[in-house]
């Protein structure tokens, strides 16, 4: 199932890149939307191809080396690794709060378009709200 999904990502990625390149070559007078679309397709296609191919190669290597596969599984489930990963993410989140704040002030001082500033404020509030939601959820669970 996972292998099938990875093949889908790889083939889908190639198709999207091909479609994007085809649109770049094929459309002589693109409108505003069509001028951007091919590059968006190429970007998504490259990402999808890279992800799918990476997973397929990784699966093949692990299939031929059960020892490595076991080690990888242990590393992924290791409680210290999980704790370190969680702590690192928490630190990054704390820093992100300040970075977002600084960016909002910078945007306001630069007199950037109001819609862009509001979008950033909405993103900031969404992340903060998500944090509060999980805090409450976890408080109830533990």
């Amino acid at each position: 199932m996972k292998k099938c999904k990875n093949y889908l990502f790889t083939v889908g990625g190639i198709l999207l890149v091909a479609l994007g390149l085809g649109l770049v070559k094929g459309i002589s007078e693109p409108g505003e939307l069509l001028s951007v679309l091919p590059y968006v397709l190429i970007g998504i296609g490259c990402g999808s191809f890279g992800y799918g191919m990476g997973e397929l190669v990784s699966q093949r290597i692990l299939k031929n080396d059960p020892e490595l596969a076991l080690q990888k599984e242990i590393e992924a489930g290791d409680e210290r690794n999980i704790m370190l990963s969680g702590l690192a993410k928490a630190r990054a989140y704390d820093l992100m709060t300040y970075v977002f704040g600084a960016l909002m002030i910078a945007f306001a001082l630069m007199k950037v378009e109001m819609s862009a500033v509001l979008l950033l404020v909405a993103a900031y509030l969404f992340v903060e709200g998500y944090s509060i939601y999980y805090r409450i959820k976890l408080e109830k669970e533990m």
């Binding site: 242990i74 590393e75 489930g77 290791d78 409680e79 210290r80 690794n81």
Partner: protein
Amino acid sequence: MKNRLEEIRKSRGIKQEELARDLAVSRQTIGSLENGRYNPSIMLAFKIARYFNMLIEDVFIYEEGQNGEVQKHEEM
């Protein structure tokens, strides 16, 4: 929290890698436990104690006020 993991492991002639593999944790976790840099979860502490056929108290030594937890609690 102190522990006697290194002492017990060495007395039984087990390598860090072997212990890590048997407990399904990384070798770095065993190293950190032995150095006292990391305190295990209660589950891992039980697994370690069971592995050596010992009680948790025989492997891990809890000393009150070691991390300032008791003092802080008392201050509150």
